[in-house]
């Protein structure tokens, strides 16, 4: 199955791309996807960064199991205001 991954801010710059589609195995979690993406885009591994995870525009835990067509976003520390 496939999921859509969007990158923002520092992660977008480090990935060099704003959006990709990834093939993932049935039963994969958000955390698994992040591990795989760091292998594909080594620069994504920002030392010491604390990420939050969103699926379909809602915050989730990294243990969340992915479904086909999910929109996944890895959220670096926010700094609006």
């Amino acid at each position: 199955m496939k999921v859509k991954v969007k990158f923002f801010a520092i992660l977008r710059e480090r990935a060099g791309v704003a959006e990709i589609t990834k093939e993932v195995e049935e039963g994969s979690t958000v955390g698994d996807l992040w591990q795989n993406l760091q292998r594909e885009f080594p620069k994504l591994a920002v030392p010491g960064i604390r990420l939050l995870y969103a699926v379909n525009r809602n915050y989730v835990s990294p243990a969340q199991v992915l479904k086909d067509s999910d929109e996944v976003v890895f959220i670096p520390p926010v700094s609006g205001g």
Partner: protein, 143 residues
């Protein structure tokens, strides 16, 4: 009204939105871009958002404020893209029958924005830039 926009924010538009015949108070907060941070001179700022989720999170915190305090109406608009120094980056307006609720909800909203809403600020200095909160970016060279 919970929006992420690329254009300058119009304070009066938010005030007009929260005006309510039951309200005796309107509190507003304006977040403005600053020309320094931790001793460094900021020469340019830029905001980026995950816009669909940011607007949804703004609406969520607005609903939470309405559960916590007896407010009438709330509007939050956050600007993204390049924002010049001394320009508003975010404006919040809240109306309530009495002033305590409006002040409290306004304060709550800006603190929640800084904690949970997927918006990021990049500060550009002489010789470097940083995504605030990540402590990463181009290394700074000080002269």
């Amino acid at each position: 009204m919970f929006r992420v926009v690329r254009q300058p924010i119009n304070l009066q538009e938010l005030i007009d939105f929260v005006i309510d015949p039951e309200a005796g108070a309107i509190a507003t907060f304006i977040g403005v871009t600053r020309n320094h941070n931790e001793g460094r001179k900021v020469i340019a700022l830029e905001y980026e958002a995950y816009p669909e989720m940011a607007e949804q999170e703004l609406a969520r915190l607005g609903a939470e404020a309405a559960r916590k305090w007896p407010i009438r109406r709330m509007a939050i608009v956050h600007r993204i893209g390049p924002v010049q120094i001394s320009q508003p980056s975010v404006i919040i307006a809240v109306s309530s029958a009495h002033r305590d609720a409006a002040f409290a909800a306004c304060r709550f909203a800006i603190e929640e924005i800084k904690r949970t809403v997927p918006i990021w600020k990049k500060e550009v200095y002489e010789g470097g830039e940083i995504w605030i909160g990540t402590q990463a970016g181009q290394p700074l060279t000080r002269s």
